[in-house]
Symmetry: C2
Subunit: 429 residues, 2 copies
């Protein structure tokens, strides 16, 4: 035994994924094997449960329950979006001390890594011996350091399959179809739409990423020429498209989101009784005092409206792919599921090692004579907290579109096999 | 041989489904076995290809191609929404005569059945010996006569899985979540959302069907009390909800759609250059001259807006489930796929029988000592064309909600096995 003897707390935080429970269960099953960890407690809704002292004892859960939870999408412990204040840290540590907590595992993205960092700094300040490990998850795939993030592969598989199906639908009933894809800060998930292209004329024919500046007139020209060429246009648009493009944003500069800009032209004038009440806190106002329409499907709807108004195309539709991207239970990538489990296991193994102090589990890709493989390593919390990673600039081709060869080489093994569409021997379209 | 000797034409029509190609391929493979059918031609985009003489010869397609197409979502021949005029029928029959077409198969919903009916009536009027068979498909499940429609089972499986995943997501990050489900005329697909309920407190907690009148104040009260009880609310809303409720509509009475009503309060005032041009035909105007926002996600967004304004609930989101409902390649029900194949096969078998004239293939459910089974039968085109079927009135419980026992008994065998979510032994929420 090398780690301190004591109890462990584990929590889940941020937007759920289809495989975050794999990491959770991997950590429980591994923790049971280590005598240093006497019991593992699950914090309900992460920090919130730690503040309210709401914990679930996990070692007593039978294996069949753990197995079933591991294949269930979203966070079984409940999730939360909350950064603890100093005062809140004090309250948490009061409990931690009473409970003899010596291990803290927090599964989440960059914001959750920041929470882990705050907890770790507080422990250090108090001279309290606590081993803090951040376990990565995010469908956005935008964590720094790691090659890729558990959760991304399954979300990418969902997006790929949505585009595979929609490409067929759009071939059958031609028109312009816009699909809005999640990922406010990085285009990795939007890029996965290109996996919908299985034959030369397949869509998405146009892909708009948050890393590049979005211009509405350029967009209209693109749609027009694509429609001219193919008689249809299947289009992937990141919810995070903005005027500057993330590459040219300075540190801490906020992007001018196209969704915010377009929403500013929309007025909703419902009968008085259904409108926002002056003193209501339930209405989200943006920094300009406008009613916030973020988290809605307005981006796709207004782009549709603009295409209809400006181009002579009758059939224009949009879908905002929404929460199924992160929670659909039938689009789980096997590799993603295995890796999510592994980062949970490896977090526990790391935590009981002699020299371990704090860190986040990261993935290194191995090229095993051409076969895909990974190993994990520890990176300091400082290196992954808060900031996010862009889609690599050199994965864009000179044309401005995604370099599909480079991106497929990266993404294919993470997503795994996809359903293959059929075509008549002599193309009929 | 009993049917006339000649060629066959097959077409696909209306909104695609995930299994419409199974029916298509089933018909080809069966047709090859019958000497009466010399060749089968696929009409590109249904009636449109028949008007433009665009046909694909199908018997030459290798089996591996047919197999791959059969598992591909959407209509491989292309689809169309068009009712042929008398003049168009004349043109079609000019070609039919030249091509010696004696069999016509049309795969689609009630509108496609009407097209088949028109074609058949025209042939009869001309004294032209043509055997017309309508092959049913629709995700809406609203065809008359048949027990259920191929295409519905897979769409229902998608909806069920979206709710299974979203129920977990909503448990993890609590709030109000509204999902808009397809099905303008009937609530069958919306009802499938209840398959998301696997444990007592699971959602959807509220389900709004087009058969019942929708009242916005009642809706707000429902949401409020559900949120009070569960600390969250997962809600299924049919895109076809309307003020009267379909049950109380007289024949040919149009429903007052809630989506149309809510859209009428929305103004989009984009910079002049992006607004509708006076002479543009690309802009869809409704009968009142308003810009049409149908086919958008506005219903969910405005319901969200109203909930936020009127109830003290911070986290309110909506998703409009969209085209993945009818085209997602990983949510195909095996039973649905088999039955879709069977109706294609049986359409061909029926067409070459001695006494056959015209008809639509319908499904009869067999209770084989408690085991599920089906057989098909022929029903006159007249009996399925144009009109649609409501969700049965006696499948509503006295409370006004869906009678879940009755509906599950009906839908479970069609949808097949669903992924099962896990729960801690001692419930933690």
């Amino acid at each position: 035994m090398v780690g301190p003897k004591g109890n462990a707390v584990i929590g889940q935080s941020g937007g759920p994924t289809a495989v975050i429970n794999r990491s959770f269960i991997g950590a429980i099953i591994e923790a049971r094997k280590h005598g240093e960890i006497l019991e593992m407690f699950g914090a309900r809704h992460g920090i919130q449960g730690m503040l309210n002292n709401e914990y679930v004892p996990l070692f007593v859960q039978p294996n069949f329950v753990l197995k079933q939870i591991s294949t269930t999408p979203a966070a079984a412990l409940g999730s939360v979006r909350h950064k603890p204040s100093k005062e809140e840290c004090s309250r948490i540590f009061e409990n931690f001390k009473k409970m003899n907590v010596r291990y803290f595992f927090y599964i989440g993205g960059n914001d959750s890594a920041e929470t882990a960092y705050i907890i770790n700094s507080f422990a250090a300040g108090e001279g309290y011996d606590l081993r803090v490990v951040h376990i990565p998850k995010t469908i956005d795939n935008d964590l720094l350091v790691t090659d890729h993030c558990p959760g991304y592969g399954s979300a990418a598989k969902y997006v790929a399959c949505a585009f595979i199906g929609d490409n067929e639908d759009n071939r059958a009933l031609k028109g312009v179809k816009i699909n809005i894809v999640m990922g406010r800060n990085a285009g990795f998930l939007t890029a996965a739409s290109i996996l919908g292209k299985q034959y030369p004329k397949d869509g998405p024919h146009l892909v708009y990423m948050p890393e590049k500046p979005f211009d509405i007139d350029r967009f209209l020209k693109d749609v027009e020429s694509t429609y001219k060429e193919h008689g249809r246009a299947l289009i992937a648009v990141s919810e995070g498209i903005n005027k500057q493009g993330n590459y040219s944003l300075n540190e801490d500069e906020k992007p001018d989101y196209i969704s915010t800009w377009l929403n500013s032209f929309v007025n909703i004038n419902l009968p008085e009784k259904y409108m926002p009440k002056g003193d209501s806190k339930a209405v989200e106002l943006d920094s300009h005092g406008n009613v916030s329409l973020s988290g809605t499907s307005m981006l796709g709807d207004i782009l549709t409206f603009i295409v209809k108004n400006n181009l002579d195309i009758k059939r224009v539709r949009a879908d905002t792919l929404g929460y199924p991207q992160r929670s659909f239970p039938l689009a789980i990538s096997e590799v993603d599921a295995e890796e999510a489990y592994k980062v949970g296991v490896d977090a526990v193994i790391a935590s009981v090692q002699k020299n371990f102090d704090e860190g986040s589990i990261a993935i290194r890709r191995l090229d095993d004579y051409g076969d895909y493989g990974i190993e994990t390593f520890i990176t300091p919390l400082q290196s992954v907290q808060r900031k996010t990673k862009d889609f690599p600039e050199n994965w864009f081709a000179e044309s401005g579109g995604i370099d599909e060869r480079k991106f497929r080489e990266y993404v294919n093994p993470i997503v795994g096999e996809l359903p293959m569409s059929g075509r008549f021997i002599k193309a009929i379209f």
